[in-house]
């Protein structure tokens, strides 16, 4: 079975029934403040708040949140090496080792970048771990995103799990027959796995087309959207939190 920890959390947390708009105000507001902050303490505060809100308030499993957080943070750490370490001479060296040097200004900008990445990814995760991605796409309908792309995204979501289940089982079957025992076989196996998934996907699409025709499908994949009234207290608190963060960002500049 194909499962994504973030997706599982999104379907089962306590904010699941909240309207996407509410959560988007909070998560999006924090994201904007974090990405534009100039004092590292602001995005770090935002990151910790997002973690707390997700885990304590929405009851997202903390392991899920932290595990999802490490991906972007690892990229950030590797990338920061490129920001900090210079080759040759630098204007304000704090450290030199052979041809490599570390500049004072690079260090401070690295700290800022690192803190922004910390805060921004947590703000996005707050939405990702509390809102099924299909609800996000559904809410984009109101923002006049082309219907065809939203239909595509919706069907894609369902097919990812249908095809993912086959892909996982096929890979295991290949492994059972030692398809991944050595490099050359492994490459051949991966190629065969992709081809099978692609061909199977097209076949699935054709079968789904037939199956849906009986349910009156004639091109539109529109479905009944759940009614989720916006909670103004929640939006109010969110705006307040974002405003405090923004004020802190301005003051601490």
């Amino acid at each position: 079975m194909t499962r994504f920890a973030l997706d599982d959390a999104a379907w089962t947390n306590r904010w699941r029934a909240r309207s996407v708009a509410e959560k988007a105000v909070l998560s999006g507001g924090l994201l904007l403040v974090a990405v534009s902050a100039t004092a590292p303490v602001v995005p770090i505060g935002i990151g910790l708040f997002a973690l707390l809100a997700a885990v304590a308030w929405a009851r997202v499993p903390w392991r899920t949140f932290v595990a999802a957080w490490t991906g972007p943070l690892i990229f950030t750490l590797i990338g920061l090496v490129g920001v900090v370490v210079s080759v040759g001479t630098v204007p304000h060296p704090v450290l030199t080792a052979g041809p490599l040097a570390v500049d004072e200004r690079s260090v401070s900008s690295a700290v800022l970048i690192g803190s922004r990445a910390f805060g921004c990814s947590a703000a996005v995760l707050l939405l990702a771990s509390t809102t099924p991605i299909v609800d996000v796409f559904e809410s984009l309908r109101r923002l006049r995103v082309p219907e065809v792309m939203l239909d595509l995204a919706g069907a894609m979501y369902r097919l990812i799990f249908v095809l993912g289940a086959t892909l996982t089982r096929t890979r295991e079957a290949q492994a059972a027959r030692l398809g991944y025992a050595r490099g050359a076989c492994a490459r051949r196996s991966v190629a065969a796995l992709f081809v099978r998934t692609l061909v199977h996907g097209w076949d699935r699409a054709a079968r789904l087309e037939r199956g849906l025709a009986g349910r009156g499908y004639s091109g539109s994949l529109r479905m009944l959207a759940p009614e989720r009234p916006v909670s103004w207290p929640f939006v109010g608190s969110s705006v307040a939190v974002v405003a405090v963060a923004a004020a802190a960002s301005v003051v601490l500049r």
């Binding site: 299909v134 919706g154 369902r158 799990f161 699935r204 849906l212 009156g216 009944l224």
Partner: protein
């Protein structure tokens, strides 16, 4: 209970259907679906069960013969077909061929939305179908968190939300365990109580014997329709169709029981009851 003299709700009359590479899956097939009678379409894998149901549903266009709705031939024009699909729903074997939405409630709404109904009406039909199939506790769950048997029930609910007069179910019990089969049969009984006539295809002769009133037996080069007791006590016909004689029939015959009786033994438990009754 239906009146044999009434015209059938839905029928095939001398229908030929084929595919490229398999010219005549159905060859001059005639089948009658009567309101309120349980029909099992029985045959081996590859004998044309699915093709028969899909032809009844209007999804396949016969090269000869006609699909009849209350005696009127179906026109395979777009608008006529859309009408036909509302009253005759086909549910395939693999639920993943019919489920397109992320969660259960949204998926069940797909058909009613396509009918262009007003939103409150859609909502009412969805809740009704969910309740009928005992899916309310799962209504907000994502489809990919459900088991195979649960997904089959969601596909059924999606079809029921169209409020069809006839439901055609392709192998509703295949790959489902004993409790799942019982649940599926319960669900079918509820559909019937809601006034829907149910046609089921199966390769499981024990199931057909236990459940059906009438049987359509797919044979090499022909179709035989009749009451379940009559068709299925003909061992030669079953064997020729590569279908096993039901265990109850074999053992019951050896015990000298009357298998054509109105209260014929349908299950192993019925047999046990009769054995005990004889002492």
């Amino acid at each position: 209970m239906s009146d044999r003299s009434q015209p059938p709700v839905l029928a095939l009359q001398g229908v030929d259907v084929g595919y490229p590479g398999a010219p005549e899956v159905l060859d001059h097939a005639t089948v009658e679906v009567r309101a309120g009678r349980r029909i099992a379409v029985l045959g081996a894998n590859g004998s044309g069960k699915t093709t028969l149901l899909r032809t009844l549903a209007g999804a396949l266009r016969p090269t000869a013969g006609q699909v009849l709705w209350h005696g009127t031939p179906l026109q395979h024009s777009r608008s006529r077909l859309n009408e036909h699909r509302q009253r005759v729903q086909f549910v395939g074997q693999d639920p993943d061929d019919q489920l397109v939405s992320a969660d259960v409630r949204r998926d069940v709404s797909f058909g009613p939305m396509n009918l262009g109904l007003p939103v409150p009406e859609v909502r009412a039909r969805v809740e009704e179908a969910l309740a009928l199939l005992d899916l309310l506790p799962l209504a907000d769950r994502p489809v990919h968190h459900l088991s195979y048997g649960q997904r089959k029930r969601v596909a059924l609910a999606g079809a029921m939300a169209m409020r069809p007069a006839v439901m055609l179910l392709d192998e509703p019990t295949a790959g489902v365990d004993d409790v799942g089969v019982r649940d599926a049969l319960d669900a079918l009984a509820r559909l019937e109580r809601a006034g829907t006539t149910v046609v089921v295809s199966t390769h499981d002769s024990d199931l057909a014997w236990a459940w059906a009133d009438d049987v359509v037996l797919l044979q090499q080069g022909g179709i035989r329709q009749g009451s379940c007791a009559e068709v299925m006590s003909d061992a030669d016909a079953l064997t020729a169709s590569r279908v096993a004689v039901p265990a109850v029939v074999r053992v019951g015959a050896a015990l000298g029981l009357d298998l054509l009786a109105v209260d014929r033994p349908r299950t192993a438990d019925d047999l046990v009851g009769l054995v005990h009754a004889r002492g």
